[in-house]
């Protein structure tokens, strides 16, 4: 844990990885050493079902620039979604 920058929150959703679709109820977002990317630090996102300790994990490692663009895109999609589906955002 060289930077120890890791934030965690509960979520509700599903994800698809090697084992197929799975329940997602926790996401950890960290800025630390990635496992696969050839960078010293990356923005790492781990989606898990926290009820299964060390169970399947949907992992994403992004460059900082890519992660920022992802955040922007998520916000754009959420803003547009709130227009067409206001009840879901209440």
């Amino acid at each position: 844990m060289c930077t120890m920058i890791a934030e965690k929150t509960a979520v509700t959703g599903c994800g698809k990885g090697t084992p197929g679709w799975m329940q997602i109820n926790q996401v950890t977002v960290s800025y630390d050493h990635p496992s696969e990317m050839t960078l010293e630090h990356a923005l790492n996102i781990d989606f898990v079902d926290a009820s299964q300790k060390l169970g399947p994990r949907i992992a994403v490692e992004l460059t900082p620039d890519s992660a920022q663009r992802l955040v922007e895109l998520i916000n754009v999609a959420l803003e547009k979604g709130a227009v067409v589906d206001p009840v879901a955002f209440e």
Binding site: M4, A6, Q26, S30, D32, H33, N44, L54
Partner: protein
């Protein structure tokens, strides 16, 4: 020094070591064959976990004559692939410093208990492992030399202190009981050259025996031949400095 007319052999296997809280943790133990006496080395693995590089590293030290133990510091996190275990360790805020120090101390005592020990035990760690060996050698007596390779967060702001990491390792410098070799890269950000300089100042102020080397053209993890930060020239020189330092202090 190894010469081609020498007999060489080693055993490398997974064992368990009973640590202070009674847990039996897995450890990779690589040691030279023969009656010894052998100096010992405790390896503290890096943030990416108890992985293949650390097994290779243990065998490298054994090849150089050290009975070498690499405890699984993530043992209590659970067992899966090293990267999945490391990801889970990260999600729970890493491992407590007290626990890491206890596991490394138990490993050191295990090596000291061997009948073919020469009575000297050192410690080596990279990345978070570098931080952990500095911490262990500062808080527990019994280490005779410590090698800190780019250990981040030895110097910590108060805002970085957590339940798992309640005290910055640098604040234990007065307790450091053995010489330290530090290898760092100028392009590293954790630890940055400024943080390394702060650590060096503390060692100097407390009159500690230390040897720091700051490599140009290298960043974090320049020994890792399987990753992009690998720097061949600096790594070769770094390994030479590691073994020269250990020969001087462990025999």
């Amino acid at each position: 020094m190894y010469t081609t007319d020498m007999y060489e052999g080693m055993i490398a296997e997974t064992i368990t070591v009973q640590v202070e809280d009674g847990t039996a943790i897995n450890a990779y133990f690589a040691r030279p064959l023969g009656p010894g006496p052998h100096p010992g080395m405790v390896l503290a693995h890096h943030m990416p976990g108890w992985d293949e590089w650390y097994r290779e590293c243990a065998r490298k030290f054994a090849h150089h004559g050290y009975a070498t133990i690499s405890p699984d510091l993530y043992h209590r996190v659970g067992h899966a692939s090293p990267e999945d275990v490391a990801a889970h360790a990260r999600s729970v805020g890493g491992i407590p410093d007290d626990q890491a120090v206890g596991d490394l101390a138990a490993s050191m005592r295990y090596l000291r208990s061997l009948p073919n020990s020469n009575g000297k035990v050192g410690a080596f760690g990279t990345c978070s492992g570098g931080r952990h060996v500095v911490l262990a050698a500062s808080r527990v007596a019994g280490f005779d030399a410590v090698v800190d390779c780019w250990g981040g967060r030895v110097v910590m702001d108060d805002s970085e202190l957590t339940e798992n990491n309640p005290v910055a390792p640098i604040d234990y410098t007065s307790g450091l009981s053995c010489p330290v070799l530090g290898l760092f890269g100028e392009e590293d950000t954790s630890p940055s050259p400024e943080q390394v300089a702060i650590h060096e100042t503390a060692l100097k102020e407390h009159g500690k025996d230390y040897e720091f080397h700051m490599y140009a053209g290298a960043g974090h993890g320049f020994f890792y031949y399987d990753r992009a930060p690998y720097r061949q020239e600096q790594a070769v020189d770094g390994w030479q400095k590691v073994f020269a330092f250990l020969a001087k202090h462990l025999g």
